[in-house]
């Protein structure tokens, strides 16, 4: 359904007095993934990973510097003007902040039907009717339709935002940290609604979040991002049970859990490197507990994980060779050994 191919986007971090750019940040650098119809792809990363930028690139809210996005066979990135506007209907976004994504001076009915009116799909008379339909779809009531956003709670506002996104009957919904600003119980409730809607409407989701627990629950497959690159892709179950990339391992072990600790805590050393001056070689090597020489000089490509039955991908020198070096980092690959079991 959705194919992203080699997306890249660079921002200017600083300009000199004459307005010339002096520092650049490669927020996204060569990101590719696919989403099948009805599937949820989780995109996980911390701040500076570029995941939000990827969301905006796919939604065409930002222009790509490099790379392509295909939707149902059509190349979105090649469209301009009126054609692009038409194509927007297929990819909609639910934003993070329910307090900022709704215009405080508009009533909910108008907010939800904004898209329909923009494309001339609904006349003045049917506006309210359609609004009621949409609100009921997301679990709100018909008598909410003429209220203002300030009268709703965070969770309810997010439902309004979802209703707005669904109004144009998109094929892909991008949830950009859609539940991150909500309380735990509200989060759960919105996640359930999103799942229901996916089943009912057959949507594909690109679920962007920093919260790996939420992503694991909601996604079929997950892609982990670090400093503008995807470092691992796998199904949700595989990623959770048997993470291969050291960053994913650290991320998982850092999730606070109520159950007695099952995973050894893999605490990363140091901070995120300056995104405008990323490390040479593998971007993660400065914090990686298993880095060795090759990691410092050569950037690993996202490639198939050796010995895995499904098509898992990881960008790590440890996984791309047929041996697993987890216990003993060494510069040369040794003769193949059987794939070890996960350390759980």
């Amino acid at each position: 359904m959705l194919v992203a191919d080699g997306l890249a986007k660079t921002f200017v971090a600083r300009r000199d007095l004459l307005g010339r750019a002096t520092r650049h940040v490669a927020a996204v650098d060569g990101v590719s993934f696919t989403i099948a119809p009805g599937e949820t792809l989780g995109l996980v990363g911390e701040s500076g990973s570029g995941k939000s930028t990827v969301g905006r690139l796919v939604a065409r809210l930002l222009a790509v510097d490099r790379g392509k996005v295909h939707l149902a066979g059509r190349e979105l990135t090649a469209l301009r003007g009126a054609e692009l506007r038409q194509a927007r209907r297929d990819v909609q976004v639910v934003f993070q902040d329910p307090y900022a994504s709704l215009d405080p001076s508009w009533v909910v009915a108008n907010i939800v039907t904004e898209g329909l009116r923009a494309y001339g799909l609904v006349g003045h008379a049917e506006r309210e009717e359609r609004a009621v339909e949409l609100l009921e779809l997301v679990g709100l009531r018909a008598d909410h339709v003429r209220r203002y956003p300030y009268e709703f709670s965070g969770g309810q506002r997010q439902r309004v935002a979802i209703a707005r996104a669904l109004a144009l009957e998109p094929k892909v919904l991008i949830c950009d940290e859609a539940v991150s600003a909500l309380d735990a119980s509200t989060q759960a409730s919105i996640l359930l609604t999103l799942e229901e809607l996916q089943d009912r409407l057959g949507l594909s989701y690109l679920f962007i979040s920093h919260d790996l627990a939420v992503v694991r629950h909601v996604s079929d497959r997950i892609a982990v991002m670090y400093l503008g690159h995807i470092v691992e892709t796998a199904t949700a179950a595989e990623l959770y049970d048997d993470p291969r990339h050291p960053y994913t391992q650290a991320l998982l072990s850092a999730i606070p859990t109520l159950q007695p600790r099952q995973r050894d805590r893999l605490t990363l050393v140091g901070d995120l490197p300056d995104p405008s001056d990323p490390p040479a070689g593998c971007a993660f090597h400065t914090r990686c507990p298993e880095a060795f020489d090759r990691c410092r000089s050569e950037r690993p490509e996202l490639s198939a994980v050796a010995g895995s039955p499904t098509d898992r991908l990881a960008a790590c020198h440890l996984t791309s060779s047929p041996t697993n070096h987890r216990e003993e980092p060494c510069p040369e690959p040794t003769p193949p050994v059987p794939t070890p079991t996960a350390t759980n």
Partner: protein, 339 residues
């Protein structure tokens, strides 16, 4: 008061029936009602609840930082190291703040003054309470930066806050809080604004410092998981009241209040692959609390006639455990699913 006092018998901090009200357009609204708990020396106590439950207000009340107007402590007593904090004037509280008890806030970006170097900020806190020369204070500042794990402390002491990342800034804030070796540290959502891997680092740091320095910590958070990693005992708050207290492990394995059980059930990480069960409804507004048990409209176990008539007391249900629920003895509430 400059150095630490002789250890007193009894708890380090005792909050008794605390009530805090805020003045609004509709009159005086109670935001925290009947909150009582104690903290022993060296103990780590968690204060957990969703937004609007009153946990932050409680911690601000202990520090004497409730903005007045519009807020006021209207009832109860807070005793710290034998002194009744609620009876102290501002000057006396200022002598203790940053010295005997200290607070760390959520936002590392705004907790530090951008105009001064981090070394200056740590040193000035030290000098205000301990006096001494600039040299001594500066050395102490470097010592603290080392203690909180900032590499190259000597050089970094001369940097301004904007030169540090979020996680590092939070470490600096912790350094400022601990510079006078307080016996109590109150941490209000200190890791909420941080990335999860950085959060893990800061939690490790807090745990390490607590073991080394032996101070008590009151850890306020909405995240049950974070609280369970760090705390010995946990208090759960809802709509301005404490609804359950228990040792951390026991609380999560076998909660005695439906709200606690509900919070556990709606966490995605606890039940990979199973359905989330959200708590229906929303938190009531402070001025519009339901009759009887504040939680009953949302409670799956509420019984008409018992739960919606009279206010519910916080009662002991086991040694070291209490719950504010009339049905607690009858209910078998699910906790964390076994792995």
């Amino acid at each position: 008061m400059n150095g630490p006092p002789a250890p007193a018998a009894g708890p380090l901090l005792a909050v008794e029936h605390l009530e805090v009200c805020f003045a609004t357009a509709h009159g005086l609204v109670p935001v925290v009602t009947d909150v009582s708990f104690t903290v022993d020396p060296g103990e780590v106590v968690g204060l957990v609840g969703e937004s609007g439950c009153g946990k932050s207000v409680t911690s601000l009340a202990v520090m004497g930082l409730i903005p007045d107007p519009p807020g006021r402590i209207t009832g109860g007593r807070i005793t710290f190291e034998g002194d009744e904090l609620t009876a102290l004037g501002n000057a006396a509280m200022q002598r203790r703040r940053g010295n005997r008890l200290a607070m760390v806030f959520q936002e590392p970006m705004t907790s530090l003054d951008p105009a001064f170097t981090v070394g200056e900020q740590i040193a000035s806190t030290y000098r205000r309470h301990r006096g001494g020369t600039k040299r001594e204070a500066w050395d102490r500042a470097i010592e603290m930066l080392d203690l909180v794990g900032i590499p190259g402390a000597k050089a970094r002491a001369g940097d301004h806050p904007h030169a540090f990342s979020g996680g590092m800034r939070q470490r600096v804030v912790i350094a400022i809080a601990l510079v006078c070796s307080p016996s109590l540290l109150i941490a209000d959502e200190p890791t909420t604004a941080l990335d999860v891997t950085i959060q893990a680092q800061v939690l490790d740091l807090l745990r390490d410092l607590q073991q080394r320095l032996g101070m008590a910590i009151v850890f306020v958070s909405h995240d049950l998981g974070v609280v369970s990693e760090l705390c010995d005992r946990v208090l759960v708050m809802y709509a301005g009241e404490v609804v359950e207290t228990a040792p951390a492990r026991r609380l999560f394995d076998a909660p005695r209040h439906p709200y606690t059980s509900g919070l556990i059930a709606c966490r995605p990480s606890e039940r990979p692959g199973t359905t989330l069960r959200p708590i229906p409804g929303t938190v009531p507004a402070a001025g519009a609390l339901p009759e009887g048990c504040h939680f009953h409209p949302r409670c799956a176990h509420a019984e008409l006639g018992r739960c919606d008539t009279t206010a519910v007391e916080l009662l002991d249900v086991a040694p070291g455990r209490s719950a504010r629920c009339v049905r607690t003895a009858e209910l078998q509430l699910p906790g964390v699913a076994p792995p």
